[in-house]
Symmetry: C2
Subunit: 407 residues, 2 copies
DNA sequence: AGGGGTTAGGAAAGGGGGTTTACAAAGTCG
DNA sequence: CGACTTTGTAAACCCCCTTTCCTAACCCCT
């Protein structure tokens, strides 16, 4: 709430690093132009990051007749970040270099009944150990681990306040993980992980206001407002999946009826299919992924049932998205997560068209709807980004301390 | 988007003045404690405002055994602010002193067919002239005029981009008004005026995230996020009235079906009444105000039809508010505008109960739902607040210029 | 009445941040 | 080889907030 000049520095540090990552090898000049900061500020920030070996100088670039521009790039080898995506049925862990390339992956299944906190923590610890070993990274190089866990999370205390799938209540997850993992840990939920991934590396980059719509088994919306993540007062903003779309509609596990999630979440899409064609060969009753894949293939092949299911789903989705556009007036709405990735362009086209019918003209005109351009798991990437942000934050503190020590 | 240290100053200036207005006569000590700023900063800011005659020193207060605390209060006579509320059928103008007390009021009716921009501007100019004359304020004392006009507004260029009631398109309203009114003008829409009024003087004061639900003929939500007004990319955030509440529900003038506004706007409430009891004596077919008043009286007297209509309305409203709570996780939801004021506590009680049924437990636990405590027209007050903010802004610029001039 | 004790508030110093200006460094071109 | 260009660093400067020091103003007690 209370802003200080230090926050400005942090924001600028983020922005500069974002631009460097996005533009790979780039010059200070270009960064200054892109960020709107003065050359001096950019140079200071770049110098700081060079000192920390997060960047390297990689040569020069001709400048129209003058001194050549020095180029800097992310020092991929300068550190590693780990992103952990804990979901209902699996733990997915990826290890990234500083350019956010995936160096190693590990996955552990969580079987039904194996969902006690200690068991889940065990899976996470094993997978984290595995990616570190695979990548052959020295432990010192791991700058941090970001962990995404569904539900409500208190990121300051590291407590998973409530995880709906497993009936967890106030589990001190970060403390439990800390017993197995020595790297700096950062906890948040998948909605916000997805949003931060888009903000740093995806379609929300450079935008002040964006909505990242997460379409998976569950549904939610990460909100980027005023250039930063909107968390709300108790860090639970973005619970869009339980927005009422149809009064007295389909029952939802949250206890209400007609929630968005029951129409556009993967199980909801299966229900849309069932209502259209109860015995469709597209339907794999026990397998959400297979069903969505079958639908995607069906649309590609022109199967009328598949086309209609996607259209129906898009219609529900668009009604919800139009509401978000009207309410928040964002620059961009990003469709993310595995369902969006698999249904892809056909879904996007239908959504765009249907949103245009629902939203008010003026807010709509300012809003773009796009698919997430992030090729990997956005939740892992976002979790790793939390670790990156944490590392940058402590950079600021460290350099401040160092300056104090010098005196 | 780009933050500078000056924004911090502006925000602090706002916060200090807000606290002074709220605490009437108060000491620098108390202000420092309330704002979290250091005494030095508070003293500087207070000194600035004293120089500008926006504050006065009003005596001393005992301090446990030491030097007495100097008390400062708003210098009500130090200036006047004018708030203009342009609505579909009237222009409502209020003149405030700096303590935001109403010194004069004027109202002009806009008859159907009299809605050409020049005609409306004429009404505004007449009413503004009237309040200035009534209050007997010297022209130099008027620090600014805030104007609220429905629809989409570009506050920088002063253009009313789109007013749905009158089919205005890109009317350069501020320029037109400038031909008749010599004071500094500030344009925005009633949603944001209501929100800013709550932020400065009402239930949102001191809260980082708040939603101000405007219940009038139309319906909208002013969003306070991160301590400031959320405007969205094209200054049209808050269009909550056209959120889909019932898929394929009642037709709305926006072209869609089932919008919140069609159920909880005043005409929607009349429809709720009609559906329950087509020929109820409560219904005044051509008069929204009279009908809502009749409902309020009916509830007070225990009329079962009135009670049921309020309950039905609350149920719709609560579904929409629960969605806002889930999505934005605000600290407070404020019910504002004339419908909320007239239906009052009975509506609030029903809404609270119904929201509790719809919203997720965690976000709900952090959220309070309250009626607006603002006794006067919140839109006029909010519009005047825009003028106040504008005056404070130029204070900053002026003192900067003055400092430059001194050199 | 005159000193201690206590609290208020102003002035100056200090630290964080960003920008502007001056200048050295490193090229190109005639 | 010198003139011109462009880059990038260092120093000076402005803004903002806080901390520290000191004076002002009051109480109480002797």
């Amino acid at each position: 709430m209370k802003r200080t000049s230090r926050d400005i520095r942090t924001a600028n540090r983020y922005e500069v690093l974002r631009q460097i990552i996005a533009r790979s090898p780039t010059s200070r000049q270009e960064l200054a132009a892109a960020t709107g900061l003065s050359l001096a500020t950019v140079a200071t920030l770049v110098g700081e990051l060079l000192d920390l070996r997060m960047l390297t100088e990689v040569g020069f670039e001709d400048s129209a007749g003058g001194r050549p521009r020095g180029l800097v790039a992310v020092n991929a080898a300068g550190g590693a970040l780990i992103g952990v995506d804990i979901a209902e049925t699996y733990v997915h862990v990826e290890l990234f270099d500083l350019a956010l390339n995936v160096l190693a992956r590990a996955e552990e299944d969580i079987r039904p009944g194996e969902s006690r906190p200690e068991q889940v923590v065990g899976h996470v610890a094993a997978a984290v150990g595995s990616v570190v070993a695979q990548a052959g990274v020295e432990a010192a190089r791991v700058l941090g681990v970001g962990v995404s866990v569904p539900g409500q999370v208190d990121r300051d205390t590291g407590i998973a306040e409530y995880a709906p799938n497993w009936d967890w209540h106030d589990v001190p997850l970060l403390d439990l993980l800390g017993e197995h993992i020595a790297y700096p840990l950062h906890l948040d939920n998948p909605l916000r992980a997805g949003a931060v991934a888009e903000l740093w590396f995806g379609a929300a980059r450079g935008h002040g206001d964006a909505v990242v719509v997460n379409l998976g088994t569950g549904v939610g919306a990460g909100l980027v407002l005023g250039g930063g993540l909107h968390r709300g007062v108790s860090n639970s903003a973005g619970e869009w999946g339980h927005t009422t779309l149809v009064l007295d509609g389909r029952p939802c596990h949250c206890g209400n009826h007609g929630c968005v999630e029951t129409y556009v979440g993967a199980p909801g899409i299966m229900q849309n299919l069932r209502e259209l064609s109860a015995h469709s060969p597209l339907l794999h009753p026990e397998d959400q992924t297979a069903t969505v894949d079958a639908l995607a293939r069906g649309v590609a092949e022109g199967d009328p049932v598949a086309v209609q299911v996607v259209r129906d789903t898009a219609r529900y989705l668009a009604a919800g998205i139009a509401d978000l556009v009207n309410l928040l007036n964002p620059e961009v709405v990003v469709l993310s997560s595995w369902v969006a990735a698999r249904l892809g362009e056909p879904l996007l086209d239908e959504v765009r068209e249907a949103v245009a019918r629902h939203a008010l003209r003026r807010p709509l005109a300012a809003t773009e709807i796009v698919l997430s351009p992030i090729p990997t798991d956005p939740v892992c990437l976002g979790a790793a980004t939390f670790a990156l942000e944490g590392a940058l934050q402590s950079v600021g503190q460290r350099s401040a301390q160092r300056a104090a020590g010098r005196t």
